[in-house]
C-alpha cells in the first residue's frame, strides 16, 4: 500500500520545498498542494478500508509501519481537512518561509501519529509534531514556546519510558502484538497467575501514558502550556494546532484502550459503572471542562479566550472516553470531529479579525458584523455549533455525550458536563456581542471582509459544520464501523439511541419554518426604532473608570472577584517554580562539583578509588 507513506510524507516534502524556493506565489502553491495530497489520497482510499491497508518498512533494525483502519481513517481525515483549511488560511497570514516548513512538518507529524502501526513510528511522529509546532511558537514568544516544549518533552519522554518498559517485557513493538500480549497477561491474572507485568508496573505504565497524552490533549493539570502557545503563534496555524494536534492526545487515550484495556480492567477494576482507569481520565476531563470554561470567561484577549475554550472542549472528549462504553467512546470521537470543525473555524475567524484589524483584545473591537458580513455569518455558525444549538454539529456530539454519561448513571460527571455547557454560553456571549455588535470604534471603519483564501477555508469548515449537523447520521455510521455494530442506530438524518432520538432534518425543517414565520412578522409589522446612546447602568452601583463593566471590558470582573481564592491556585506558577528551583539547584551543583579547585578534583579521584577498594573487599 504505497499511498500510506505518501500521505504522511507529502506535507513535509512540500514544506521543505516551499522553504527552499522562497518565491512568493510558488511557495503558497506548493504548500497548499502538500496539504491537499493527503486529503485526496485519504478520500481515494476510503472504499478499500475493509481490507487491511498496511505499509511496513525496516529501518535500522526497527520494523516501522503505517496502517489505515476505520478509526485511524476518521482521525486522519480530521487532520487532513482541518490541516488543509489551516494551510489555506496561512496563505494570507503566514509571514515567512519557516512558517510554511514547520506548519507542514507538524501536519506530517500528526498524520504519522494517527496512522502509526507500531510504538516507534508513533513516538517518532509524536516528536516531529511537537518539534514543528514548537518552532511555530518560538518566533513569537520564547517563554510560551519553551513552556510548551518542556511540558511536551516531559510527556514524550514519559511515553518513551513506557514504550521501553513494554518492549523490555514483551519484546515487541507493533500495536497488534502488544495488544495481544496485554490481553494474554490479563487472562493469566484472571486465572490467578502472576502475569508479565505486576500491578505497580501496570500502574506506572498507565501513569506515564496518562502524563504523555494528557499534556498533548491539554488535560488539567497539564494544560498550562495551551493558552500561551495557542495565542502566541500564527492564528491560522492555531486552527490546526488546537483543532488537530490536541486530537493526537485524544487518539493516544483511545490507543490506551486498544492496547491495555483488558489488563487495566483486571488490575484496577471498576468504579461505579466505568472502569477505574477510565474514571480517572473522565474526572480529570471534567475538571478540565470547569477550569477551562471559567478561565475562558475571564479573558480579555480573543485568542486566549478561545485557547481556554479549546481546553474546556477537550475535557468533554475526555469525559466521553473515560466512561468507557461503546456509545460514550463514539460520542467522544464525534465530539473530537465537531470540535476540530468548529474550533478550526473559530481560529480562522480570529486569524481574519487580527489580519484585518490588527487588534486582539475585546476592548478594541465592536460592530464588525456590518463591515465583515461573510466572516460574521461564519462566526454565527461557529458560535451556534460550540454552544450546542441544533441543527449544527456541536449539538449532535454534545447531546451524544450527555446521553452516554446519563445512561451510565454518573451524576458527578454529568454535572460537570452540564456546567461546561452553561459556561460555554457565557463566554460565547462575550465574543458574539463584543466583536460583532454594538458601537464600532472609529479606527475600525475601514475594515474589509476576509481575504479570499481565508474565506474559502472558513467556508469549507462552516459548510461541514452545517452538513454534519443536519445529517448527523453520516458521521455516526462511520463511527459505527469502528465498533462493527450499530451503536448509534438510525439513518443519515437521525441518531437513534434507543432511549433517545435526534432527527437533524426534522429539526432543521422546523427551524426554517420558524425563521420564515418570524421573517413574515418582521416584514409585516416590526419597525426599526432609533434609540439614542445612553449611559449604561449597573443596578445602583456608581460608574467609575475603575469599575466600568461593559461587554467589551471587564465584563466578568465580578466573577473574577468571586473566584479570587480559586484563581490563586495556579499550576502554571507551580511548574514555573519547580523549573526555577531545578535551575537554581543546577547552578549550586555546578558551583560545588566543578568548583575550579584541582585539589578537590584530585580528592574525587581518591574517593572513587576508595569505593573501588570497598567493592573489592
Amino acid at each position: 500500500m504505497n499511498e500510506l507513506p505518501i500521505i504522511v510524507i507529502s506535507p513535509l516534502v512540500a514544506g521543505f520545498l516551499a522553504w527552499l524556493l522562497r518565491i512568493r506565489g510558488v511557495r503558497e502553491i506548493i504548500g497548499v498542494a502538500g496539504s491537499l495530497i493527503p486529503l485526496a489520497l485519504l478520500i481515494k482510499l476510503y472504499p478499500s478500508l475493509g481490507e487491511r491497508l498496511e505499509f511496513t518498512i525496516n529501518v535500522a533494525g526497527f520494523k516501522l509501519g503505517l496502517m489505515l483502519s476505520h478509526l485511524t481513517w476518521v482521525f486522519s481525515m480530521i487532520a487532513a481537512v482541518v490541516g488543509f483549511t489551516a494551510i489555506l488560511g496561512m496563505i494570507s497570514t503566514a509571514r515567512d518561509n519557516w512558517e510554511w516548513l514547520f506548519a507542514l512538518m507538524s501536519l506530517t507529524g500528526v498524520l504519522g501519529v494517527f496512522m502509526a502501526y507500531d510504538l516507534i513510528t508513533f513516538f517518532i511522529a509524536w516528536e516531529i509534531m511537537t518539534f514543528a509546532s514548537f518552532m511555530m511558537v518560538l518566533k513569537y514568544n520564547r517563554h510560551a514556546s519553551l513552556k510548551y516544549f518542556i511540558l511536551s518533552i516531559v510527556g514524550a519522554y514519559a511515553m518513551l519510558i513506557a514504550i521501553g518498559l513494554i518492549y523490555a517485557k514483551t519484546g515487541t513493538l507493533t500495536f497488534p502484538e502488544v495488544s495481544v500480549a496485554f490481553t494474554q497477561d490479563a487472562m493469566r491474572r484472571m486465572m490467578g497467575g502472576s502475569g508479565l507485568f505486576t500491578k505497580t508496573e501496570t500502574m506506572l505504565i498507565y501513569g506515564l501514558f496518562l502524563l504523555a497524552f494528557g499534556v498533548k490533549a491539554g488535560m488539567f493539570p497539564l494544560h498550562v502550556w495551551a493558552p500561551d502557545a495557542y495565542s502566541e503563534t500564527n492564528q491560522s496555524y492555531t486552527a490546526m494546532f488546537s483543532g488537530v494536534l490536541s486530537k493526537a492526545g485524544v487518539y493516544g487515550f483511545i490507543l490506551l484502550y486498544i492496547l491495555m484495556y483488558g489488563k487495566l480492567v483486571v488490575e484496577f477494576g471498576h468504579f461505579r459503572s466505568a472502569p477505574t482507569f477510565g474514571y480517572i481520565i473522565a474526572f480529570l476531563g471534567g475538571l478540565t471542562i470547569i477550569v477551562g470554561g471559567i478561565l475562558a470567561a475571564l479573558q480579555e484577549d480573543i485568542r486566549k479566550l478561545f485557547a481556554y475554550s479549546s481546553i474546556s472542549q477537550i475535557g468533554y472528549i475526555l469525559v466521553g472516553l473515560g466512561v468507557g462504553t461503546a456509545l460514550s467512546i463514539e460520542a467522544a470521537i464525534y465530539h473530537a470531529i465537531s470540535h476540530a470543525l468548529f474550533k478550526g473555524l473559530f481560529f480562522l475567524i480570529v486569524a481574519t479579525l487580527i489580519y484585518r484589524t490588527g487588534k486582539t483584545e475585546f476592548k478594541d473591537f465592536g460592530g464588525l458584523a456590518e463591515k465583515m458580513p461573510y466572516t460574521f455569518a461564519m462566526a454565527f455558525i461557529a458560535i451556534l455549533s460550540l454552544a450546542g444549538i441544533p441543527p449544527l454539529v456541536g449539538f449532535a456530539s454534545k447531546w451524544l455525550i450527555f446521553e452516554a454519561v446519563i445512561h451510565e448513571n454518573l451524576p458527578i460527571l454529568g454535572g460537570m458536563v452540564f456546567f461546561g455547557s452553561a459556561i460555554g454560553f457565557v463566554y460565547l456571549i462575550r465574543f458574539t456581542y463584543a466583536v460583532w455588535f454594538g458601537q464600532r470604534p472609529s479606527d475600525l471603519e475601514g475594515t474589509k471582509d476576509a481575504p479570499l483564501p481565508l474565506a474559502i477555508a472558513m467556508g469549507i469548515l462552516g459548510a461541514l459544520n452545517v452538513v454534519f449537523g443536519v445529517a448527523p447520521g453520516i458521521v455516526a455510521q462511520e463511527l459505527n464501523k469502528i465498533f462493527d455494530k450499530p451503536v448509534i442506530a438510525g439513518n443519515i438524518w437521525e441518531l437513534d439511541l434507543g432511549f433517545g432520538r435526534y432527527n437533524g432534518l426534522l429539526l432543521t425543517i422546523w427551524m426554517v419554518i420558524g425563521v420564515l414565520i418570524a421573517a413574515i412578522v418582521y416584514f409585516l409589522g416590526a419597525n426599526v426604532r432609533r434609540v439614542p446612546v445612553t449611559d449604561t447602568y449597573q443596578s445602583g452601583n456608581p460608574i467609575t473608570m475603575e469599575y466600568n463593566l461593559t461587554i467589551r471590558r471587564n465584563f466578568f470582573l465580578p466573577l473574577r472577584e468571586v473566584m479570587a481564592f480559586w484563581l490563586k491556585i495556579s499550576f502554571d506558577r507551580l511548574y514555573h517554580d519547580i523549573w526555577k528551583s531545578i535551575e537554581d539547584f543546577a547552578e549550586t551543583a555546578r558551583n560545588y562539583v566543578y568548583n575550579g579547585n584541582v585539589q578537590a578534583y584530585a580528592w574525587y579521584l581518591a574517593i572513587i578509588l576508595v569505593i573501588l577498594a570497598a567493592m573489592g573487599v
Partner: protein, 493 residues
C-alpha cells in the same frame, strides 16, 4: 597489501618529526602541510575501512614481524576501521580550520602536537597490546596537555595544569593495573589476556580491572573524574577542542569498553559494571545541569559534550549487545554533531571576537549559514527525529530499560529535557534577538553545511550507518571472535 595499514601509525609519526625541517625551509608551509598529511591519512583510513568492511576480516599488523604475544600487534577490526576513518576526517577538517583559527606562535610546535594527538588516538584504537595502549594513551594525554595550554593565557595554563594532575594520577593507576595483570598472566597481549582472565587469582583480576577502568575513566571524562574537562575544552584552541570532543575522549571510552569486555571473565565484573552505570548516569545529569546557566557558549557545548559522552559510557556499561551497538552508534553520531558545533562556535569566535552569549545574538542575520548549522546540530543533540542522534538515543534508552536500569533511563531523560532548554535558548538568541549585517562566510561555512546535511541524511535514513555500527559493535562485544582472529603463538602459559 594490508601492511599499508601500518602507515596509519607511521605517517603521522614521521610527518610530525619532519615539521622542524619544514620550518627551516619556509614557515608558511607548515599549515598547508598539515592539511596535506591529514588528507593522506584520510585516504589511507578510507582504504582500510573499505578493506575491512568488504572482506569482513580484521587487518592485523605485526610490529617488527614478531608474532603475538611475543611482539606487539595492531588489530584493525570493524570498530577500529570505522573510528580511524572518523579520526582522520575530523583531523582533516580541523587542519583546514587551523589555517584560519590558529595564529599563536610557535606554529611548528602546534603542527607537531596536532599530528601526534591524531597519532595517539589512532594508536589507542588500533592496538592489540595493553602496554602499547598505555603508550599511545600517554602520547595522546601529553600532547593534549600541551595543546590545552597552547593559547598561552593564564586560563589555558591553569586548565592544562588541572588536566596534568588528574591525567597523571589516572595514568599511574592504569599502569599499576596493567602491571598487576602482567604479573598474574605473564602476557601483555589483549587477546591472550581475555583467554587467561578467568584462570588467574580472582582478587588480582578484580583489582587489576578496577584500576585499569579507573585510569581510563579519567581520560573518558566520567563523573567525578571529568572535572578537568570543561576548563580544558574552553581554554584549548578551537580546532583542538573539536578534536578532544570528537575523538580523544572517544578513544578513552573505546579503550574502556574494549578492556571491560575483554576481561569480562574476571570476578566482580558485574559490580564494576554497576558502578560504571552509576558514574555514567551521574556524568550525564551533572554535565547537563551545569550547562544550564553558562554564559559562554563554548563552555556550554563542552558540558553538553561531556554529557553525551556519559550517555555513550552508559550504553557500554549495560553489558548487553544492544547496549554496545547503541553506544557505538552514538559515538559516530556524536562525533559528527560535536565536530560541527565546535567548528561553528570556533568560527563565530574568530569572526565575532569571542564565544560568549552576546556574540551569538543576531547570528541568524550576520552569519545565517553558520546559525543554520548550529540550529541543526542543536536540534539533533536534543534528540528530535529526522536528525541522527534521535536513533542512537532511542536505542540507548531502550537498551537501558531492557537491561533493567529504570532509574538510569529516567535520569538521563530528565537531563535531556534540561538539554533541550539551553539549546533552544541559544537557538532563540541566534535568530530572534539582536541583528546585524551579513558577513561573508567562507569555506568553513561550506563544511558546516555539508556536516549538517550528513546529520539530516543519517537521521532520515539511518540504515546504512546502522549496519556498519552493528558490525563494529559485535567487534567489541563478541570477545570470542576477537580472540579467534589473533594468531597467538603458543608461548608457555
Amino acid at each position: 597489501m594490508n601492511q599499508v595499514a601500518s602507515l596509519l601509525i607511521a605517517l603521522p609519526l614521521i610527518s610530525a618529526f619532519f615539521v622542524p625541517v619544514l620550518k627551516q625551509i619556509n614557515k608558511s608551509l607548515i599549515k598547508p602541510y598539515l592539511v596535506l598529511i591529514t588528507l593522506i591519512q584520510t585516504g589511507i583510513a578510507g582504504w582500510v575501512f573499505k578493506e575491512v568492511y568488504t572482506t569482513g576480516k580484521p587487518i592485523i599488523i605485526y610490529a617488527g614481524g614478531w608474532r603475538p604475544p611475543i611482539g606487539i600487534n595492531l588489530y584493525i577490526g570493524h570498530f577500529a576501521a570505522l573510528f580511524v576513518l572518523i579520526i582522520a576526517v575530523v583531523s582533516f577538517i580541523m587542519a583546514i580550520f587551523s589555517l584560519k583559527a590558529v595564529t599563536t606562535e610557535p606554529i611548528d610546535k602546534y603542527a607537531m602536537l596536532f599530528l601526534l594527538l591524531m597519532l595517539g588516538a589512532t594508536g589507542m584504537i588500533a592496538t592489540g597490546d595493553i602496554f602499547n595502549l598505555f603508550v599511545f594513551m600517554e602520547i595522546t594525554a601529553i600532547t593534549a596537555y600541551a595543546l590545552t595550554a597552547y593559547n598561552k593565557t593564564g586560563e589555558a595554563a591553569e586548565a592544562s595544569m588541572k588536566y596534568i594532575v588528574l591525567g597523571g594520577i589516572g595514568s599511574s593507576f592504569f599502569l599499576v593495573g596493567v602491571a598487576l595483570l602482567y604479573g598474574a598472566t605473564g602476557t601483555l597481549n589483549m587477546a591472550q589476556l581475555a583467554e587467561l582472565a578467568n584462570s588467574i587469582n580472582p582478587i588480582v583480576a578484580q583489582v587489576g580491572l578496577a584500576l585499569i577502568i579507573f585510569g581510563l575513566a579519567v581520560e573518558a571524562e566520567l563523573f567525578p573524574l571529568n572535572a578537568w574537562a570543561p576548563d580544558a575544552y574552553q581554554a584549548a584552541p578551537h580546532p583542538i577542542t573539536a578534536m578532544f570532543s570528537a575523538f580523544v575522549v572517544k578513544a578513552g571510552i573505546y579503550a574502556l569498553a574494549r578492556l571491560l569486555y575483554l576481561l569480562q571473565k574476571a570476578s566482580g565484573w558485574s559490580s564494576i559494571l554497576r558502578l560504571l552505570v552509576i558514574m555514567a548516569t551521574l556524568t550525564v545529569v551533572f554535565a547537563e545541569l551545569s550547562a544550564l546557566r553558562q554564559k559562554d557558549v563554548k563552555r556550554m557545548i563542552a558540558y553538553s559534550s561531556i554529557g553525551q559522552v556519559g550517555l555513550i559510557a552508559l550504553a557500554f556499561s549495560l553489558g548487553t549487545q544492544a547496549g554496545v551497538d547503541a553506544g557505538v552508534f552514538h559515538m559516530v553520531n556524536h562525533a559528527i554533531v560535536k565536530t560541527l558545533l565546535f567548528l561553528a562556535i570556533g568560527y563565530v569566535g574568530i569572526a565575532m571576537g569571542g564565544t560568549t552569549m552576546e556574540n551569538f545574538e543576531g547570528l541568524g542575520k550576520k552569519m545565517p549559514l553558520t546559525a543554520l548549522a548550529i540550529t541543526v546540530a542543536g536540534a539533533a543533540t536534543v534528540g528530535v527525529p529526522l536528525f541522527n542522534v534521535f536513533w542512537s538515543k532511542l536505542r540507548i534508552i531502550l537498551a537501558t530499560l531492557q537491561a533493567g536500569f529504570f532509574w538510569a533511563a529516567v535520569l538521563v531523560l530528565f537531563a535531556s529535557v534540561v538539554e533541550a532548554v539551553y539549546y533552544f535558548r541559544l537557538i532563540h538568541r541566534m535568530w530572534f534577538m539582536g541583528g546585524g549585517i551579513r558577513i561573508k562566510e567562507g569555506v568553513i561555512a561550506g563544511i558546516l553545511v555539508i556536516l549538517a546535511a550528513i546529520i539530516i541524511l543519517i537521521g532520515v535514513d539511518p540504515a546504512p550507518v546502522w549496519n556498519i555500527v552493528v558490525k563494529a559493535g559485535s567487534d567489541i562485544f563478541n570477545v570470542a571472535n576477537y580472540v579467534k582472529n589473533v594468531p597467538l603463538v603458543g608461548v608457555g602459559s
